[in-house]
């Protein structure tokens, strides 16, 4: 039974998504309860899977008995299992959060909405598990198509943002596929482990380098790395309140995970692009993204836009950790990825609650919240601590390990990048708090918000608690990553 867990984890949301339009034909309102139940089951199964992987080693799953170089292989290793617990838990929270913020423009088409969310979760599960480069492409596209539809689902401005996302995202996917076909042409295989055996003879091949560049640009577009981030803030800002958290916390992070897989699980040899070792390139791109993203966030007035740019800068910080090429840096990067997924979800939950309850869209509206809402200001304080990286939260320890890794590698540019982006993050959160506690705007007191729904309290409370728990238990979690999630050769 336990060796079937990866397939079960993928099939749970997929079957639920496919059967939902039929099951909920007469009773539309079942769809939310079914999604919550399926995702809760997925959380349980993923915890079981993690437990199983930690105690009995990684699970290799081969589809329909075709053995490795021929068939598609899925591997549930430590990294995939840890990410999957995070993925299913955040998916569950996002569906819980959806209840009171359900986009009104959808009217009765509630079933389609939950179908798309479950499809997105199952595709992301596939990306996390797969060890086949083409399989990865298919799941990237399934995830992308569901996110295009989910961004545009409420109509209005979001339609245009979704269209831009679609055009750029498809360009990214095409470039990725082009890279895969280059690699297939030179190695004759698509399986990652099989490719590792064939690469050492090809290190100087131009086709390999060309293919890798195409793949990295393609995935770079998907994860909103800095020169290719144009689609991301707009899509996340105009997407419905209930969709932004799942997109910001999961879709970009999982594309980043795919990049990590290719860099550390396929390119084990010393790969050099234009005379620069690939890891240095990753660290430099990360530094650029961390600093530029934070600068752009500082310039925003729309709070969702600000959080989206904050997410771009944090992708950069994760890449800095990944690019150091030592265990400390890698563990720090992955730990920061876990943190950042929770923090991004929390920030967009907060923006959603602020908009639904108080009509807050820009920084100037924030004064309406003031001291009236302890839930919002309280969780915002925790998230700010996490985003800036102050001690009781996970953000601090993530950055700490990343900086330790950079010092170990003697990479002082990266250290400077992390510190500068931390300062800029501090600056834009100071801007937010200054706006909240400004006293001058008393004329807005006529806003009479109702009681905050339970779902909002639950999501804000859980994410804030998790941000602190990740900080308090950072040592065992990083130890877990060091023991079970290290790539071969590190």
């Amino acid at each position: 039974m336990s060796h079937q867990l990866p397939a079960i984890l993928f099939l749970l949301p997929l079957f639920a998504a496919i059967s939902m339009p039929v099951v909920c034909l007469k009773h539309r309102h079942w769809s939310r309860s079914i999604s919550v139940a399926i995702l809760a089951a997925m959380v349980l199964v993923s915890i079981l899977n993690l437990h199983n992987v930690i105690h009995h080693g990684e699970v290799r799953y081969v589809f329909s008995g075709w053995t490795v170089p021929l068939g598609i292989e899925w591997v549930a290793d430590g990294l995939a299992s840890i990410i999957l617990v995070l993925l299913s838990a955040l998916g569950l929270l996002c569906v819980v959060f959806t209840g009171p913020t359900f986009p009104k423009a959808l009217g009765g088409r509630i079933v389609h909405y939950y179908t798309l969310i479950l499809l997105l979760v199952s595709a992301l599960t596939g990306i996390v598990f797969t060890r086949d480069l083409f399989n990865l492409f298919v799941f990237l596209e399934v995830a992308a198509i569901s996110s295009y539809a989910l961004v545009g689902v409420a109509g209005g401005r979001a339609l245009f943002a979704a269209f831009r996302y679609l055009v750029l995202g498809t360009l990214g996917a095409s470039l990725y596929l082009l890279g895969v076909s280059y690699l297939y042409a030179v190695t004759g295989t698509l399986n990652m482990a099989d490719m590792v055996d064939k690469l050492p003879l090809l290190l100087s091949s131009k086709a390999l380098i060309g293919g890798l560049i195409f793949m990295f640009i393609g995935l770079g577009i998907k994860m909103a790395l800095v020169p290719f981030h144009a689609w991301m803030p707009e899509a996340y800002t105009h997407a419905p309140e209930s969709i932004s958290p799942i997109l910001a916390s999961l879709v970009t992070k999982v594309a980043l995970l795919a990049w990590i897989r290719i860099i550390y699980w396929v390119l084990i040899g010393p790969i050099v692009i234009f005379d620069i070792p690939i890891l240095i390139l990753v660290a430099v791109l990360g530094t650029l993204a961390a600093v530029i993203g934070a600068f752009l966030a500082l310039a925003q007035r729309n709070i969702k836009m600000m959080f989206a740019y904050g997410g771009i800068s944090h992708i950069g910080i994760i890449l800095i950790g990944i690019g150091q090429g030592n265990q400390t840096g890698f563990a720090g990067g992955v730990f920061y990825l876990l943190n950042d997924a929770v923090m991004q979800a929390a920030l967009f939950f907060l923006a959603g609650v602020a908009f639904c309850q108080y009509g807050v869209k820009t920084i100037d509206d924030l004064a309406r919240i003031g001291k009236k809402s302890p839930w919002l200001t309280g969780s915002l304080v925790v998230m700010a601590l996490g985003m800036i990286g102050l001690p009781p939260t996970g953000g601090f320890f993530g950055k700490w390990y990343i900086i330790l890794g950079a010092l170990e590698a003697g990479n002082y540019l990266s250290v400077a990048g992390v510190l500068l982006s931390t300062l800029l993050t501090l600056a834009y959160f100071v801007k937010l708090f200054e706006a909240i506690f400004r006293q001058s705007s008393t004329q807005l007191d006529d806003v009479q918000p109702g009681e905050i729904p339970l779902a909002f309290k639950l999501t804000l409370g859980i994410t804030s608690t998790v941000i602190i728990i990740l900080g308090l238990f950072s040592a065992p979690i990083v130890q877990l990553l060091l023991d079970h999630a290290m790539p071969p050769g590190l």
Partner: protein, 125 residues
Amino acid sequence: MVDALLAVLQRPNFLIFVIIFLWGFYIMMTRYNLVKKLIGMYLVQTSVIFFLVSISVKKGATVPVLLSTTEPVKAASYANPLPHVLTLTAIVVGVATLGVGLALCAAIYRKYGSLDEQEILERLE
């Protein structure tokens, strides 16, 4: 320089791939009409599929169904089925993306009464 040109002419399929890809990319980036953008996007996807098919051509080979079960299998006489399967999947993915894109275009047209990017942007301001 001449050598490089001759080397390119040796493989016209790569040349055609580059032309279609850049053509689609150019349309995608410069046209303001949303449907034209989608056409450019589809050209980019098609060019990659064309590339995938053209690198997997094998002269004198047949479909990968065993001709006889008694003789030893000669790999050279069968085409590799994998790239073709990949191509089929990539085509399906492309069609799905195009479908979502056209649906978004239709919704944008219903909402703004125009498909011109600049006009829509003016209306959004």
